[in-house]
């Protein structure tokens, strides 16, 4: 899931300068789970906009705002309200914002900052485990990703800053390499410690990413 949080109202107000009438877009998937752009947050945004003298022409929660064609369809269903607006305020991740901006020539204002691809510990508690780097070595690291969970993304073991199994960059956090070591030991395997891992092939991370099946 894409983890996002709302920009502060001050920044949003700055972006709204000169825009009187607004159409609001939320996302029924990730932004809803993050409580950054679901029904409730769109409603709160609407109330706040009224309090700062703006008019809301309408709103929609798109099932998955990142779905480009679905966003197009939902905006068509609200054609008149969109047409009346000076700008659209989108409470969705950066992908969602761009689905909207693909489908309208109007000014699109992003209301959220997108943070990371997150695992869910429990609702409201999210952790980054994967950075979508294009070259998994999870099979050798007992299912713990050092590219993501090591603060430096090291591939050959801990840095000199590891202390008692804690990370140099944040003593509250376990050193990823310590966790890898402990789990491999439990499994009786050497895993990634059996070989020097060569430099990562960042070329596998095609940017901008694209995948077309079939």
């Amino acid at each position: 899931m894409i983890i996002s949080q709302q920009k502060n109202r001050e920044e949003l107000l700055h972006n709204l300068e000169g825009k009187k009438r607004l159409f609001l877009v939320g996302c029924g998937a990730c932004a809803t789970a993050c409580k950054s752009g679901g029904e409730e947050e769109v409603f709160q945004l609407q109330e706040w906009l009224a309090s700062v003298g703006r008019e809301v022409t309408g709103s929609v929660i798109i099932d998955e705002a990142c779905h480009i064609m679905r966003a197009a369809r939902d905006l068509r269903h609200h054609r008149d309200a969109v047409a009346e607006a000076d700008a659209l305020v989108v409470l969705a991740c950066g992908a969602g914002v761009q689905s909207i901006s693909t489908n309208t020539d109007k000014r699109v204002i992003a209301g959220l900052d997108s943070l990371f691809l997150g695992n869910i510990r429990r609702l409201g508690q999210y952790e980054e485990k994967c950075s979508l780097c294009g070259e998994c070595i999870l099979n050798e690291t007992a299912g713990i990703c050092p590219v993501t969970t090591c603060a430096k993304g090291l591939l050959n073991g801990p840095c000199g800053g590891m202390e008692e199994g804690r990370c140099e960059a944040d003593r509250e956090v376990d050193c990823a390499w310590h966790s890898i070591y402990e789990r491999l030991k439990k499994q009786g395997r050497q895993g990634v410690f059996a070989r020097p891992v060569p430099p990562k092939n960042w070329g596998k991370l095609r940017k901008p990413g694209r995948l077309k099946l079939g």
């Binding site: 430096k152 000199g160 800053g161 202390e163 008692e164 140099e168 020097p196 430099p199």
Partner: protein, 284 residues
């Protein structure tokens, strides 16, 4: 062959220390300091140490070489991708610099540009491998070099880090990667140093023990709280606290470590925290 490599190959006990480049363009103080050093084999030139921006270590190392001082160029993976690292290395070789110390680098959040983006395209093991390739006349992409460098590559190790086996795995990978000498983080726990040296001795790569001058108890407490991988035992903190002259006590502690290094290591790397004039006393 650099002075450092020469002396280590002759099994002479070597002494290194370190100098940070200035934050600015005036090299005179750093060069004067380097010239004033007594009894030193080679001098590390730190690379944006603690993630604090300073003048390029490549430039200071080259100027030190001109002044007849053997530099050890530190290079971190934090600030450069694989192109920049290899490019700087070739530049260093062209200027006559042979000793390099290859490091991951402290995390950006400790430094004076915490909003910057760290690189870490390579890690320290991979950078050691890259240097080994360069020494064979090839870049990381397998392209032939015009003129081959002859680096004497070193690496860092934290002998007191726990768990020991995990730290030692990394040490071993650095040896396989091509590390020809090690400089250690400051170690104050003698039992941990003995344990490390017993395991490292059969590997046969020279180890220079990191000796850090404890100027007073406040410095010791600061190190414990803020410097990754350095732990000053409580009894040493107490000794400094109760000493009539803490600096003299700190020198005595350092001297004891140097003596220990003479028994079980191949040299020392002295971190004198601005008290270069006390290095001869620490070595006495």
């Amino acid at each position: 062959m650099s002075q450092l490599q020469n002396e280590l190959s002759q099994h002479r006990f070597v002494v290194t220390t370190e100098i940070a480049p200035p934050k600015g363009v005036d090299l005179s103080a750093a060069l004067a300091k380097a010239r004033s050093l007594q009894g030193i084999t080679a001098v590390n030139v730190t690379d944006n140490q603690g993630a604090n921006m300073r003048l390029s270590p490549l430039v200071l190392a080259a100027r030190m070489l001109e002044a007849g001082i053997d530099p050890i160029l530190q290079l971190t993976c934090r600030d450069r991708n694989r192109l920049a690292l290899q490019s700087d290395l070739l530049g260093a070789a062209a200027l006559g610099i042979e000793n390099v110390l290859l490091l991951s680098g402290d995390h950006m959040r400790f430094g004076d540009h915490p909003q910057g983006r760290a690189v870490f395209d390579l890690d320290s093991v991979q950078l050691l491998q890259a240097v080994a390739h360069l020494n064979q006349g090839w870049d990381m992409a397998g392209r032939k070099l015009q003129g081959t460098p002859s680096f004497f590559a070193g690496a860092a190790v934290s002998p007191a880090a726990e768990p020991f086996e995990l730290m030692f795995q990394k040490y071993r990978k650095k040896v396989e990667g091509g590390a020809r000498f090690f400089q250690t983080q400051a170690v104050f726990a003698e039992d941990k140093l003995h344990r490390f040296m017993e395991a490292a001795r059969p590997v046969g790569v020279p180890v220079l023990l990191g000796v850090l001058l404890l100027k007073n108890a406040a410095v010791a407490r600061f190190l414990n709280a803020n410097i990754p991988g350095v732990q000053v035992p409580p009894e040493l903190v107490d000794r400094l606290e109760q000493a009539a002259d803490p600096l003299t006590e700190g020198v005595a502690i350092a001297r004891r470590q140097v003596a220990l290094a003479r028994e079980i290591c191949q040299g020392v790397h002295i971190m004198s925290l601005g008290h270069e004039e006390l290095i001869p006393a620490m070595l006495a």
